[in-house]
């Protein structure tokens, strides 16, 4: 970020010596001006770090059942209090957060891959456009939560048998959430491809005999990535909410895997006597999704060519 400090010091004379500006460098400069997005990035970084490193620093067991201390409020020994079986809630939140965030990121990876592929094919090859967009429209009309519940109800047991109880349900949720959420990306990528296809640099690439696949991957795709990145960021938040909703309905992860949604599901029964039990996982979900949405908002502003200065 030398460019910024140079500009502040002596804007007029060093203009020529300034390092070349790239799209991502400009975007980062713009992003840093968005205070709430920076706060979101910081909070998000902290939460991710906490769920990854936290369990090594905070060594309370996640499954230390102790009936002498059930449903206690926050204290020095247990900063988030304890649950109905006397287990330490902070340890469980840290452990579960890792799963919740991982589900969100993986599901979005699936959704973005499918969406980018479908969008690129239908934007580049005119013949595939009609059928693929019809398919996209159909998927948009699918009621996602009922279908998610249906698929999980039907396939849960066999995948659990195949891959084990935790990985099985993890793979299932990631795949289903991903495969029901690629449509927005497909539309964005298609729109970007349709306009980029007509640009001179693509026509030039055609003219020098560059093969189609190479044009798509090397020339068009990098220019179409900005809206995908914004959609992906916001998608992670949505996927975390979807996973939590499933677990909250009791149809996601099994009880011994305390994802944030699952903790809320367990806490629901004790809401009148131990509100802290629901409060902490709920706050963590909300804080994570809120930070992600602010980061997405900042990215959208930063990558919008109309706002670049």
């Amino acid at each position: 970020m030398a460019a910024t400090s140079v500009r502040v010091a002596a804007p007029a004379y060093t203009a020529l010596a300034r390092a070349p500006r790239s799209l991502w460098g400009d975007a980062w400069r713009q992003f840093r001006r968005h205070r709430l997005a920076m706060a979101g990035l910081g909070t998000l970084g902290f939460l991710v770090l906490a769920t990854l490193v936290g369990p090594f620093v905070y060594t309370q067991p996640t499954d230390g059942i102790d009936f002498s201390r059930t449903l206690r409020g926050p204290s020095w020994a247990h900063p988030f209090g304890t649950d109905n079986l006397g287990r330490d809630l902070l340890a469980r939140c840290l452990y579960g957060g890792k799963i919740s965030i991982a589900v969100g990121v993986m599901a979005v990876t699936v959704a973005m891959s499918v969406g980018t592929f479908v969008g690129a094919v239908s934007g580049f090859f005119r013949r595939a456009d009609g059928p693929l967009m019809r398919l996209t429209d159909m998927f948009i009309s699918l009621p996602s939560l009922p279908l998610l519940l249906l698929v999980i109800m039907l396939f849960r047991d066999s995948l659990r048998g195949l891959l084990g109880p935790i990985i099985g349900i993890f793979v299932l949720i990631v795949l289903v959430v991903g495969l029901l959420n690629w449509m927005g990306t497909a539309r964005l990528v298609r729109a970007a491809f349709l306009s980029l296809k007509q640009r001179d640099f693509v026509i030039a690439a055609h003219a020098v005999g560059c093969p189609d696949g190479r044009i798509v991957v090397r020339h068009i795709l990098p220019n179409a990535l900005a809206p995908v990145l914004v959609a992906a960021t916001i998608g992670v938040g949505a996927a975390i909410i979807t996973e939590s909703s499933l677990s909250f309905l009791g149809l996601g992860f099994p009880p011994d895997e305390p994802t944030w949604g699952r903790l809320l599901y367990d806490a629901q029964a004790f809401i009148d006597i131990a509100p802290h039990f629901a409060l902490f996982p709920g706050l963590l979900i909300s804080l994570t999704v809120l930070s992600i949405n602010y980061v997405g908002d900042g990215l959208r502003d930063a990558l919008d060519p109309r706002r670049l200065t």
């Binding site: 009922p146 279908l147 249906l150 809320l264 709920g282």
Partner: protein, 319 residues
Amino acid sequence: MGRYVLRRLIISIPTLLGISVVIFAILAFAPGDPLSQFANNPEVPFEVREQVRRSLGLDQPVQLRYVSWVTSLLRGDLGYSFASKLPVSELILQRLPATLAVLGSAYLIGLLIALPVGILSAVKRYSFFDHFATTATFIGFSVPSFFTGLILIVIFSVHLRWFPFIYDSTIETQDLESLWRQIRQTIMPVAVLTFFYAATMARYVRAEILENLPQDYVRTARAKGLRERILLQRHVLRNSLIPVVTLLALGLPHIFTGAVITEQIFAVPGIGHLLILSIVNADTPVVMGVTFIFAVLVVAFNLLADVCYAALDPRIRYS
């Protein structure tokens, strides 16, 4: 216009067929036996189970089963529930009013809040009100509805004891007192959904108005001396609300998601509640029926939105 509506209606038929194929395929290729619940029941001997299988047509090939399922769907026959032995369509019709009442009122109140908030925060961009409203909308669509619901329960049911936290479906509205009880128990589920809808819609409204304000026609209108109020009402608002209609329709699947969760928290006897109940009971015909009804509602509202879109914006004609 009439031809456009007709065309749009015809286009939605393959969409619905596609959806029916997806739902059917998921069930048909799912591992496990749809009659497994009878297998564990000692009162149902093997022969009876096979007879049930034949009477349900489960011994036939997949294509034939699909065709017969779709033809009975067209007749409005969604099959019978495993659990209650009642027709699925009857179960759904029983519960649809509660869902639509809660969703409808939340949607309406949400819109009534979102419109002024969105307009004001776009017109007074970067003002204190705009910052406040933008933050509130961000929180509104970031906080999951199940958490909002639980917070409302802790505050208003447990501490203040203003509202009951379980919906009592036995209340019949006969007099003012029972009407009041009915309203009181709907306030919290409606509030949870309203918060979410209002946040989403206010964001759309604000973004669309901001999109329109710097445009040439606005400058022209200002230049000819039009008052700001009229300019907003007659020019900007009309143009801005057109895309909002589509965005609202596209967000509909999410709205049903919220409804399922809210009904589950507050035990509102709607179709979302029915869905969860039948999933827990492995009541396949009901799950299929409810999923399909959700899909039909989504397609129907999308159709409505497209028709509204064409009616509102004379520039748009899909030929």
